[in-house]
Amino acid sequence: MARVKLTNVQKVYDKNVIAVNDFNLDIKDKEFVVFVGPSGCGKSTTLRMIAGLEEISGGTIEIDGVVVNDLQPKDRDIAMVFQNYALYPHLSVFENIAFPLRIQKMPQDEIFKRVTNAAEILGITDYLNRKPRALSGGQRQRVAIGRAMVRDSKVFLMDEPLSNLDAKLRNQMRAEIILLRQKINTTFVYVTHDQTEAMTLGDRIVIMKDGLIQQVGTPDEVFDMPKNLFVAEFIGAPKMNTFETDLIREGNEYYVKPFGAKIKVDGSKGEELKKADIKPAKVILGVRPEHILLGHEGDPDSIECTVQVNEMMGSELHLHVLTKDNTSLIVRVPTVNLTHEQRDAMVNGHKIYITFAGKVMHFFDKETKNNLLY
């Protein structure tokens, strides 16, 4: 229930290793913000600076209008869920959840009320008298969340809470976090390296790399309009295909010429290119696997490829194909519209023809790697 404001925040280790650089972010009250990025990008460090577990080398962090730089974690009124749960092994589940309340010297009645209430929401009432080691991974994670919940703190911090769970449980817990969020309605800061988690959970996503913010935006924004090549490749699975190609202009129309084909940039993208008056040049073209369509032999916009790997995912096929000049591309083909003949044509070693959907292409500068249209 508070606004968190980070201004020029910096973290420097050993006087020369910069972990987080010039981090500016204004997290609104009750907003769910996700920090996402590859390991070592500084996302956890930033979270831990908000928690007070790491010293802040430069800049200020405000929680609810108060500069907390010099405050101890206990004085910041925050709750945190750790990656490895960090449950106290010597305490029962009940006492684990009650721990922060006991430190506050809350009366027993109130503690009991709050703990059982939280346990009910999380569905762990039956385990309250057990020790953490008798619980499964998912149950432990719930206890950890319960411990953070009972406090009614201003900010709820989560440091990769799902990464120790197996894939199935992770999906389930992700859904539960969305539900939980509706119930406890406070400010959330969530750290993950998994872009799916970021896209599904966050109101806003902060994508980081090498200690620098790459882009801040809603899931839609970062997906549709990645600010640079890194964000484009990081968000979305399978990863966006990127390769160098020529962007040319003929009259009022823009075309790209990948692998010998010539594809028109149409729809809103074409308009935007015109509006920005982009000069024809060699660019990096980005096409998401789901934006690659099957083409026909002989069409000017179709590209001949050889299927290398065929991954059947059920609802769709993931094809790893190789163009004539040995560029590897990933193509996502929904199975629903495929005929048997078409499917048979997509086995390894077979030739297929593909084309790109012009209205959802992304163009990046060859040198700066920035989105030409951002």
Partner: protein, 289 residues
């Protein structure tokens, strides 16, 4: 057919190697227990007080034990050692835990220099500093007859340097527990009392146990501080003095054996009762030190 033969061969081979191991372990056990068996036998020997060349006494009895308690200062030595061990086990445990917890969990500027300093100090023979300490203790009247407080002081004062084993143990407790507790509202002192100490029970017991056992076996320091007066000796110095010369050896040898048994019994019982923690401490902490 061939395969079966090989299989049989393997089984026989295992049986053979296990047989060798059992034999070896039996021999080792006998070698390790034999001296203690002899010690106990000799302590009950009544026909002579000097060293003899046979093991089983010709006349069994409690004479040596009775003499030990009535004719020598052994009760005083035992009491001295017990008092020392009691104080040392409490004080040393506190100091070692403070030190090891701090060095394992807290990060501050002088941490590395402090650890390096202690590493370097550990390379000087401890006896060297005792020369000055003896002079100081004697000027404070804490030697010889009054050596108990002096010895406690000497044992305890520098015990912070023996932090390695328990630091190794603390290092194995995940740091995220500290962090969780701090976020949950604990001061660093509360983190120690409410989270770390309850989790560190094995190493606390290990530290108490080793601190308690130390004074029973110490000879070098105790001998230096209390070498002249029987009233200030610990059991090690007292019993060693009993057989220090060949004439005293002839008169007291069996009594020395009885003393050894008396000292060994309580320590061994304590040790056996807490063996689990000792093993955990040695295997957990010592290697990482």
């Amino acid at each position: 057919m061939d395969k079966k033969k090989q299989h049989m061969g393997m089984k026989a081979k295992t049986r053979l190697s296990n047989g060798i191991i059992y034999t070896a372990l039996t021999i080792i056990s006998i070698i390790w227990l034999f001296p203690f068996f002899c010690l106990v036998c000799e302590s009950f020997r009544c026909e002579s007080t000097y060293q003899v060349e046979y093991i089983i006494p010709q006349k069994w009895g409690f004479d040596n034990y009775i003499n030990l308690f009535t004719k020598t200062d052994f009760p005083i030595w035992f009491k001295n050692t017990f008092i020392i061990a009691l104080f040392v086990s409490v004080l040393q445990t506190i100091i070692v835990l403070c030190m090891s917890y701090t060095l394992s969990r807290l990060r501050f500027k002088s941490r590395k220099p402090l650890m390096n300093l202690m590493l370097i100090l550990g390379m000087f023979p401890g006896f060297l500093s005792l020369i000055l300490l003896y002079k100081l203790l004697s000027s404070w009247g804490m030697t010889n007859a009054n050596s108990i407080p002096g010895l406690i002081l000497v044992y305890v004062a520098s015990s912070g340097m023996g932090y390695y084993v328990s630091k190794g143990y603390f290092d194995t407790i995940p740091r995220s527990l500290d962090e969780a507790a701090r976020v949950d509202g604990c001061t660093r002192a509360q983190v120690l009392t409410k989270v770390i100490l309850p989790l560190a029970k094995p190493i606390v017991i290990y530290t108490i146990l080793t601190a308690f056992m130390g004074p029973w076996g110490d000879f070098m320091l105790a001998n230096y501080v209390a070498h002249a007066t029987s009233a200030g000796m610990n059991v090690a110095v007292g019993l060693q003095n009993m057989i220090g010369t060949s004439s005293s050896m002839a008169a007291n040898y069996t009594m020395f054996c009885a003393g050894g048994v008396i000292v060994a019994i309580p320590i061994t019982i304590l040790f056996m009762a807490l063996q689990k923690y000792y093993v955990e401490g040695v295997t957990g902490g010592a290697v990482k030190g």
